[in-house]
Amino acid sequence: MPALRESLGFLTSRLRQVGIFVALILIVILFQVLTDGILLQPQNVTNLVVQNSYILILAIGMVMVIIAGHIDLSVGSIAGFIGAVAGVMIVHWGWAWWLAIPACLLVGALVGAWQGYWIAYVGIPAFIVTLAGMLIFRGLTLITLKNQQITPFPNELRALGGGFLPDISGGTSVLEWLTVILGVGGTAAILFQALKERRVRRKFNLENEPMAWFAVKNGFIAVLMLIITFLLASYRGTPIVLIVLAVLVIVYSALMNNSIFGRHTYAIGGNLHAAELSGIKTKKVTFRLFVNMGVLAALAGLVFTARLNSAQPAGGTGFELDSIAAAFIGGAAVQGGIGTVAGAMIGGLIMGVLNNGMSILGLGTDYQQLIKGLVLLLAVGFDIFNKNRTGSGGGSSMGRRFKWKTTPPATETSTPATSEPVAVDAK
């Protein structure tokens, strides 16, 4: 069966990409068994989504920053700070939610601009600037809150963290029909998009993934979507934050793949010098990336505050580590140039399922941290191992949706001076 052999060959060449899907499924199955089926109960699935939403929002901005070759350690503190600002605006000053939310996002943008200025225009490494930011904005959080939590928030804001889309059947049905419509519609849209992309690739003579793998992959994604839809629909429907997240993922995936801004981000991370010599305004792009990160951190802070119904001095602590881990587990490269929004989402879900599953099992934070750390190490270690083994990567079909690490063959980069006598006398 040549088709089967072709598919198998393709799978081994896409080990990293296939691997992370398989890893997510295995982890889900493992905890489903260990927790006696609690993990995939409708209520828990809903919890899983809501609990991880702010990490996933942060991971979107984080993976973009990492693709450009930077890092942001301050997002947890920024999220906490914005929670505090929201508390002051809404609870103390009595601002309406529709005024406070844009105002908070604006503050986030200013915070991002502050850090972006130091990184892009002054040239201080992002690690240092955001390490400073981590302290600065934690300090500002404590100052703003005067070390006390602010609570309660109005219901409109709380809906952002714990609200659901309305039940259009008026409570007469077991399933939330609006959720079913959205879920089935979304699944259809994804399949349609995949088919369209495949047609376009054929039209332009780009190599396509084998049909068998294409069918299995998309069939699997569709089934997964429908299962999640069913589980959500049989509890309370679609969390509002899931809609927010879905819109962000779609918009930012498109931005990274198809906008000039996204392309420039990949170019900067892939080869900064080449990007500069191609006329890309690298400083401007870097600045904008951090402004964007600030806005997303502000949004994450709002969602988190809304979910807890309280702005807390320690709010957002450790978020930066979870979102960085999500980006790296999702295939982003430390040296930049490689990574995808979708990958970071899967990385985030792996961390989320681990958190949730271990909590259900009653494992303390001690073991949770131990295991999460090992998973991060193994995921990136697997990348490096895989890279060294094959010495190559794929950049074609799914590269757009899920790019993985690639490296030029050793003969091309490691020994230019010795393999080319012409270059021996080079400057």
Partner: protein, 509 residues
């Protein structure tokens, strides 16, 4: 008097696909300064790497006799034990460590693993006195000039009780004063019995210090000229360096030259770190429509620096001078300004400055002109693929598809991707820096054909190259640069390798 200290016999060194050295012979007498001359890429540095053990003894053919004993070095450590020390053009000093620490780096004066600082600094001071450097040994390396750093390297060599000192282009990065001082020091060391091999193509320096000159060309030793036999003359060296046949490896072309497109006037560029050095001084040149203009110059002449400083000030500091396009002065102070004015610069170092190696062909081609494919900030991916497919076909880029990763392509195909990128930005002036470096002969011909086609299409092309036959084969006019000065402008009808080499080695007035 003439006692041989070093004899290299029948040295042949092969890299995959290329014979870098072929049956090279080198005889160096004790106590002499022996210069090695040759064009860029002739094999001088390779020969020195063979000698100093960078290439282990089993990776080349031939014999090395040092002080009449055969040598089988596996590493630099082995050759240093015998008193052979090489100082590379790129200095191997650690900027944050002190002079004394650098001198004894890897060779620390220690007792039971603890460094004896008193002795280290004392001995270092003695060595500094020997090389005529009056600096405190505890000064960090980064606080002294490149010229003084060069002296520290020599002091380091002396600390290893050097018998044969090899200097690879020692003055390439130095200003005139420091160069003179260094040459004096070499003569001084010679008086103390240190034998010296110096690689250089600055003929005036060679005339000043060398007792013998061995000329290497295309990986072969051509001849050894001796001072005491009156053989060291500029003409003789130049003839030896270039004396090869022009091969007909170039496409036929009938130039159709039009109006002036680009003119550069009084272009002056300072070295980015060493402010006392002018990398380019008062350079003026022009290029016309449909014309291919060559920029010839030896290493360190300032060719790349000139091009990059014009292209968005990507090199140097305190750049001054004017750029005119069609007679109008233009501002090229950022890369995007330069691109907007229709200037393109394809780098000599495509891996570090030209390509995003982890990205595919089409995204590399579109990188410099994404806005041509975009509407309101959104890139039309289908259009991009169409464009990339067009160049893949017209430039004959050999790859499975335009979605192939550029890092996996051969040098020639990578170069074609770089050229495609700049052709897509639709420039009026293309500056091509070493467009055929590191690519095989077949691909070279394709690149020459592309250059000819660009000129035929009315582009103005500037080609920077170290290979004189290449410039003679494809250019209509050639400028020569020497030490940052334009020393000659030669129409192709009058250009020969000898005349060019004459101008390239000419001193500024």
């Amino acid at each position: 008097m003439n006692v041989p200290i070093l004899q290299m016999r029948g040295i042949t060194k092969t890299f995959p696909g290329v014979k870098a050295l072929q049956d090279v012979t080198l005889d160096v007498n004790r106590g002499e300064v022996h210069a090695i001359c040759g064009e860029n890429g002739a094999g001088k540095s390779t020969l020195m790497k063979v000698l100093s053990g960078v290439y282990a003894h089993n990776t080349f053919d031939g014999d090395i006799l040092f002080e009449n004993e055969p040598c089988e070095f596996s590493s630099i450590t082995d050759s240093e034990k015998r008193g052979i020390v090489i100082i590379h053009q790129e200095l191997a000093l650690s900027p944050y460590l002190s002079i004394a620490e650098n001198i004894y780096l890897g060779n620390e004066l220690a007792k039971n693993g603890w460094v004896d600082w008193r002795k280290t600094n004392l001995e270092a001071a003695k060595l500094l006195a020997r090389v005529g450097l009056s600096e405190n040994p505890i000064t960090p390396i980064q606080h002294i000039s490149v010229g003084k750093q060069q002296l520290v390297e020599i002091a380091k060599a002396l600390s290893k009780e050097v018998k044969l000192l090899i200097l690879d282009e020692p003055t390439a990065a130095l200003n005139d004063e420091d160069s003179d001082h260094l040459l004096d020091l070499i003569l001084h060391l010679k008086g103390q019995g240190v034998t010296c091999i110096i690689i250089s193509h600055k003929l005036n320096e060679i005339r000043k210090v060398a007792d013998a000159v061995t000329i290497i060309r295309d990986g072969k030793s051509i001849e050894t000229l001796r001072l005491d036999q009156g053989q060291i003359t500029q003409e003789r060296i130049i003839r030896g360096m270039v004396g090869r046949d022009l091969e007909s490896l170039y496409p036929d072309r009938t130039p159709n030259i039009g109006e002036e497109v680009l003119r550069i006037e009084d272009w002056t560029v300072q070295h980015p770190q060493d402010h006392s050095r002018m990398v380019v001084s008062n350079a003026s040149l022009n290029v016309r429509k449909g014309e291919v203009v060559g920029l010839a110059g030896l290493m360190g002449a300032g060719r790349t620096e000139l091009a990059m400083s014009v292209f968005g000030r990507t090199y140097g500091r305190a750049v001054s001078g004017k750029v005119y396009k069609y007679g109008q002065e233009i501002n090229t102070s950022t890369v995007s300004d330069a691109i907007d004015h229709g200037i393109a610069y394809a780098t000599e170092d495509r891996k570090h400055y030209g390509l995003n190696l982890i990205e595919d062909i089409k995204r590399n081609i579109s990188m410099a002109a994404l806005n041509k494919l975009a509407k309101r900030g959104w890139v039309d991916g289908n259009k991009e693929t169409t464009v990339a497919n067009h160049y893949r076909k017209s430039m004959n880029i050999k790859a499975p598809s335009v979605a192939a990763i550029t890092g996996k392509l051969s040098g020639g195909n990578q170069q074609k991707v770089v050229l495609s990128k700049w052709m897509f930005s639709d420039p009026d002036v293309l500056i091509l820096d070493e467009p055929t470096r590191g690519i095989d002969v077949g691909a070279k011909f394709e690149i020459y054909t592309i250059i000819a086609e660009l000129a035929a299409a009315g582009k103005a092309v500037i080609v920077i190259s170290s290979e004189l036959p290449e410039l003679l084969g494809i250019c209509d006019r050639i400028y020569t640069l020497s030490a940052g000065h334009i020393t000659g402008e030669v129409p192709i009808a009058e250009a020969t390798q000898e005349t060019l080499m004459h101008y390239m080695t000419k001193e500024k007035e």
